[in-house]
């Protein structure tokens, strides 16, 4: 696996901006909120990418893990647990859920696995909707202590943590196993890779990270009209889109895709409201069909055209 | 009738045929021989339209084949019995034959053709309601040939007919093929592993090696020429004797 210094440099620069900017300028709370949401998307899409882009397991019910993290973090925090712990437990609970789901479903081939994940996410959504039918909110004291900065930096920190863990995982021998399973599961089994264990661990880690994303999201919200909304498929669709458009199986892809997603959402939501999702759906199709390496692929192409070779951190061609 | 000039074909990035040029004359039986992987089947599949050649062209009665899709080529009058028979395993003998006449021209006379096939291979009539996957190897080969004949082709391509069949069955099938060739003036191109079979049936032959034609000629001269042994067995004639 190649270490692409250029990619790391780009990420470092972006990261530095995120750290310094809010301290230097007053961005205003709505911008800060958008950025926090961006961090949530980065974490979510990177974790989906771990499972889907690197291990080849298309999970269409990812919202279950996110929602789990949101719900548990909210409940724990409300009952007095410190937020950092609440978020961590949120992540762990999502991982636990994944473990329970993973055992029966990972034996299944691609289509059935995807079907199983959608079904379970829907089931969870309905169940949660029945158990918590009314709105959930935090007591007033939390609101009076509100400060956006810790939320921002916590979100940023977890996003960085996600990037680093995925990087380390992908670079390790385990990462090699993941990609082998993605490329050809049968062949991997023949060469002695424990494909079930590989898929299972990838599932657990990605669920944990998704749960953390839920925790960050929860930290930033005081009121949920219907908590079951965080289990809705859109929380699978948007990270999935960010990954596919940004470039699946790469490290930068989900980041770029998330930025793209959030920026476009902001622009279009003004004009079109809910309908902005149509644009994303329409975009997804040509990207899947004709440009599977997404934005990263375009940038590679551009770089080759301009001169100099840039490669994603872990490329699909070995 | 059919003329290929400088045809090159690839499987992905792997080149399988290099500048192949050949001719098939009307009414003859031509054979392509060579060892495993030499490219014989590739030639058939390229003519039949399953592989699009890169470079060169193929003309059949003046029409360019290399741009057409496989089903249109069947319309023009070329039919192939593929390697491994490739029957529709869950459809009956009768249905396999019916489907064989899917091309436009053939579909009109479908039922009279089915009777003709039953005359050629009576065992198929016996088994007409049986599902193709349950037939024996020889019966399947007969069905595959029958299915290809349903398209009323002018040129019949047969790819590796004898694989896995007993000599008696092969003999029987060859007899039928030769009869049909004579009575219906059907042109046949045969790819065969078994050189003996190939040369006993054909008028002319091409020897293929590593995706190139290394020799061509009528069967008598091929039999005598040492290069056949060399190409097929990788052995010099002197060593073999």
């Amino acid at each position: 696996m190649k270490i692409d210094l250029r990619s790391i440099l780009v990420l470092a620069v972006i990261g530095a901006c995120f750290i310094v900017l809010p301290l230097a300028i007053d961005l205003g709370s709505s911008t800060m909120n958008i950025l926090i949401l961006l961090f949530v998307y980065i974490i979510l899409s990177q974790s989906w990418n771990l499972l889907g882009g690197f291990t080849g397991q298309i999970n269409l019910g990812f919202a279950a893990f996110f929602g789990c993290g949101v719900l548990l973090t909210h409940l724990l925090w409300k009952s007095g647990v410190p937020i950092y712990l609440a978020i961590a437990v949120g992540g762990l609970s999502a991982a636990l859920l994944a473990g329970v789901i993973g055992l029966p479903t990972l034996h299944l081939r691609g289509a059935y696995f995807a079907i199983g994940t959608i079904a379970l996410a829907e089931a969870l959504r309905i169940l949660v909707g029945n158990v918590f039918p009314s709105s959930l909110s935090l007591p007033g004291t939390y609101a009076s202590n509100f400060n956006v900065f810790p939320r921002y930096y916590l979100g940023f920190g977890i996003a960085v943590l996600t990037m680093i863990s995925v990087y380390l995982l992908v670079k390790s021998k385990f990462g090699l196993a993941m990609v082998c399973v993605r490329d050809d599961e049968e062949a991997s089994q023949v060469t002695g890779i424990n494909t079930f264990k590989t898929k299972f661990i990838a599932l657990l880690v990605s669920a944990f990270l998704a749960g953390l994303a839920g925790g960050v999201y929860s930290f930033n919200r005081f009121y949920f009209h219907h908590i079951s909304a965080v289990f809705e498929p859109i929380w699978t669709f948007e990270p999935l889109m960010a990954v596919v458009i940004g470039g699946s199986g790469t490290l930068i892809g989900p980041v770029m895709g998330s930025i793209f997603l959030v920026v476009l959402s902001e622009i279009f939501a003004e004009i079109l409201g809910e309908a902005h999702l149509i644009i994303f759906g329409v975009l997804l199709i040509p990207v899947v069909l004709y440009s599977p390496s997404g934005l990263v692929g375009w940038i590679d192409w551009l770089k080759k055209v301009i001169g100099g070779v840039g490669k994603p951190l872990v490329s699909e061609e070995r | 009738m059919l003329e290929a000039s400088n045809v090159s074909a690839f499987y992905g990035d792997l080149q399988a045929l290099w500048n192949i040029s050949l001719t098939i004359h009307e009414g003859e039986i031509v054979t392509f021989i060579g060892s495993n992987g030499a490219g014989k089947s590739t030639i058939m599949r390229t003519i039949a339209g399953l592989i699009k050649p890169k470079g060169g062209n193929i003309l059949f009665e003046g029409i360019r084949l290399d741009r057409l899709s496989a089903h249109k080529i069947v319309d023009l009058g070329i039919s192939m019995v593929p390697e491994g028979r490739r029957l529709f395993p869950e459809m009956t003998v009768l249905e396999n034959l019916e489907v064989g006449a899917s091309a436009k021209a053939a579909s009109r006379l479908r039922y009279s053709h089915i009777h003709w096939i039953y005359e050629l291979f009576p065992i198929l009539k016996e088994r007409s309601k049986q599902v193709a996957g349950t037939l024996s190897g020889g019966e399947q080969q007969m069905l595959a040939i029958g299915r290809a004949l349903m398209a009323q082709p002018k040129l019949l391509l047969i790819d590796e007919m004898s694989l896995g069949l007993s000599p008696i069955v092969v003999e029987h099938i060859l007899q039928v093929i030769q009869d049909v060739s004579r009575t219906k003036k059907l042109t046949i191109a045969l790819v065969e592993q078994d050189v003996g079979i190939a040369l006993s049936v054909a008028n002319r032959g091409y020897i293929i090696e590593h995706g190139r034609i290394v020799m061509e000629g009528d069967t008598k001269s091929l039999q005598v020429d040492g290069r056949l042994m060399e190409a097929y067995l990788g052995v010099l004639k002197e060593e073999a004797e």
């Binding site: 169940l127 029945n130 | 489907v99």
Partner: protein, 296 residues
């Protein structure tokens, strides 16, 4: 005794509908190995077309079925042409399957939101003179909409099986399913066969939608619910086993009705889900044996 037969009656009517819902999904999966996760969305779309015709022109929903078939068939052709046929160029089947899932997942968002714009997010259902009424036969009550749904399901299923089994086109479809390359060698235009099959599959979804909007209700996002039902039925039937779909639907309907009898109505979807998970774990190849024959 009465409640027992009532449960069975209900299970059969619902089960036939479940089978109808699944036919389109099963066809696409069996013939082309595409997983259309937008299937539920197309069902809802069919329902909206029927609803629109009903509210605008007062047309009885069951009479609107031919229109729905035509419109959805055309939509199916377009969907195939634009989004699915490029996938056929992909090298491996696994790749195709994954990409079809991603693409159709995107279609969900496009179409769901289009429907939201056109018809607003409210829940809609067709309320006609016959809605909510029931007939009494053999001492059991059958709802009128349920009976009509049952009738439509049987007619459609029989028609589909007839087309697949007896017509020339049906033979082309079966041949292309079993060996696409050999089919093209027989003169079958496999791409056109796939194109028309896609049209039929989406049209089937549309018809299911008509039944659903008359017997239940729809809203722009309700597609997922029906998709999951179709998944369960498809898995019960076994992959590619189109003939087993209606029987599998009936089984699901009966099991669900029986389950609801035991645990109570609010947990209906939980019953379906439990069945789903049990099947996935213990018998993922489905309940029905498909004669799988190899040759050579």
């Amino acid at each position: 005794m009465g409640i027992f037969t009532q449960t069975i009656a209900y299970g059969i009517l619902v089960g036939a509908m479940y089978g109808l819902i699944t036919l389109g999904l099963g066809l696409l999966m069996g013939v082309m190995k595409f997983l259309n996760v937008a299937h539920g969305t197309f069902i809802v779309l069919g329902g909206y077309i029927s609803y629109w015709v009903f509210t605008r022109y007062g047309v009885n929903p069951y009479l609107s079925i031919p229109l729905v078939i035509v419109v959805m068939f055309i939509i199916g052709l377009v969907v195939y042409k634009v989004t699915l046929s490029p996938l056929l160029k992909l090298p491996s089947i696994g790749n195709r399957l994954n990409s079809s899932m991603l693409i159709t997942f995107g279609i969900i968002y496009v179409v769901d939101n289009l429907m939201t714009i056109l018809w607003k997010p409210d829940v809609r259902s067709i309320v006609a003179p016959f809605t909510g009424r029931s007939i009494e036969l053999f001492g059991t009550k059958f709802s009128v909409t349920g009976l009509c749904g049952f009738g439509v399901a049987i007619v459609v299923a029989v028609a589909l099986y007839f087309v697949l089994g007896r017509t020339q086109f049906g033979k082309h479809v079966r041949a292309a399913t079993q060996d696409a390359e050999a089919a093209s060698l027989c003169g079958i235009n496999v791409h056109r066969t796939y194109l028309i099959s896609s049209g039929i599959a989406i049209a089937l979804a549309g018809v299911a939608g008509v039944i659903i909007v008359s017997s239940y209700s729809i809203s722009p996002n309700s597609g997922l619910r029906w998709l999951l039902v179709a998944f369960v039925v498809m898995i019960l039937a076994g992959e590619g086993n189109i003939h087993a779909i209606v029987p599998a639907g009936l089984i699901l309907g009966l099991l669900e009705a029986g389950g609801v009898l035991i645990v109570g109505a609010p947990y209906r979807q939980v019953v379906a889900l439990v069945i789903f998970i049990v099947i996935l774990i213990f018998r993922p190849q489905g309940l029905f044996r498909k004669r799988r024959l190899t040759y050579g």
